[in-house]
């Protein structure tokens, strides 16, 4: 009798550990879901039904109902060109070139939410530029000569998200083959 009680206890304990480890895994690990280049990271698993259960769980947790890669590609940057964390109280210049996609945007987030600002502007997009062969934008509390991506000016980490809608076949095949925008710190308050 005691043996069966022990076995059942082991079974329940094992199941509990299994559930907890499955629940925590997508929070703790990315399972190679992220590919990185020049400070930008892109999630290969988002919208990919053929991904393994770990990648699917990670994608559901971090990008639920995102468009699949054939429709849109997302990059995020947490660091500038020097590898330093992006900060809300710093100003940055964002320089880019032609991106092989029909429409693109760069949005700024604090704690994954829009950065509150008086201009009610949370992103820049390709339609704001006359030509996107070479483009430049500024991130900071005040506008400059370049297209302006407003900051709330507060201390703390910031994330930029680059969205590429209707990407070319070359971009779909290898998102890291393109030249991604460069983020250069200009100063901090």
């Amino acid at each position: 009798m005691a043996v069966w009680v022990y076995m059942m206890s082991m079974g329940v304990l094992g199941a509990l550990v299994g559930v907890l480890s499955a629940f925590g895994a997508p929070y703790l690990f990315s399972f190679g879901a992220l590919a990185q280049k020049d400070g930008w990271a892109t999630a290969r698993a988002i919208g990919d039904e053929s991904a393994n259960p770990y990648l699917r769980a990670w994608a559901a947790r971090h990008g639920i109902w995102a468009l699949p890669r054939r429709e849109a590609i997302y990059f995020s940057a947490e660091v500038d060109a020097d590898g330093q964390l992006l900060q809300g109280n710093c100003s940055y210049r964002i320089d880019g070139g032609s991106l092989p996609t029909r429409w693109w945007s760069v949005a700024a987030y604090r704690n994954d939410l829009w950065m509150d600002n008086s201009a009610d502007k949370y992103s820049i997009n390709s339609q704001e530029f006359q030509s996107d062969d070479i483009w430049s934008a500024s991130f900071g509390v005040a506008p400059s000569d370049a297209v302006w991506l407003p900051s709330d000016g507060k201390r703390g980490e910031v994330v930029f998200v680059l969205r590429l809608y209707d990407p070319d076949e070359t971009l779909i095949a290898d998102p890291l083959a393109i030249t991604l925008p460069t983020i250069t710190r200009e100063g901090c308050s």
Partner: protein, 188 residues
């Protein structure tokens, strides 16, 4: 010694099985969690709603795209198939209609590239018939999610944004019964 091995084996086996089952269910849990939050905020099932342009202090969607207007519906096919129609929006540089299963799989995407004049979809469980002239989207689960995304050139241009909203408000989601075809508006 034998008992120790037996106990360890039971522990490991139940751990691995529970881990794999729960891992496989996680996308469904994510859907249920997100839909639950939406229900708490008053969103109704099988009702298509078009977003308004919000400011940062009113927006709590994680990594929301500030450059798109969306039409969104959480659907429950338990009570039967649904029909979705939308005249192709003319104003956005990009638009798409995406339908997701409860396990977050992408079931269907229509975008502006195919020269579509009108999107007509029947969203139904396996085995249900499609409405004549409607593309069939077979859902493996009762709970499905529909999202229309349309890009805005400038979110602060009120006239332009309102015109784009009007285009999305022409989209309809109704039960796919033949007597509902009149409810589908000018795109039936």
């Amino acid at each position: 010694m034998k008992r120790g091995v037996l106990f360890a084996g039971v522990f490991l086996l139940s751990c691995v099985i529970a881990h794999l089952i729960f891992l496989d269910m996680q996308p469904r849990f994510s859907t249920a969690h997100t839909v639950g939050i939406m229900e708490e905020r008053g969103r109704q099932w099988n009702v298509l709603s078009v977003s308004r342009v919000r400011k940062a202090d009113k927006n709590f969607v994680v990594r929301d795209n500030p450059d798109t207007i969306t039409a969104f519906a959480v659907m429950n096919l338990d009570e039967g198939p649904l029909a979705f129609t939308m005249p192709a929006p003319q104003l956005p540089l990009y638009w798409s209609v995406a339908i997701y299963a409860e396990n977050t799989d992408v079931l269907h995407i229509t975008n502006d590239k195919g020269g579509v004049e009108c999107v007509r979809l029947t969203i139904a469980p396996k085995g249900a018939p499609a409405l004549p002239g409607f593309e069939m989207v077979t859902a493996p689960s009762d709970v499905t999610v529909l999202i229309v995304r349309a890009t805005m050139p400038d979110r602060n241009d009120e006239l332009e944004v309102n015109a784009l909203r009007e285009e999305l408000l022409a989209a309809k989601l109704v039960p796919a019964a033949s007597n509902n075809k009149d409810s589908l508006g000018g795109c039936s």
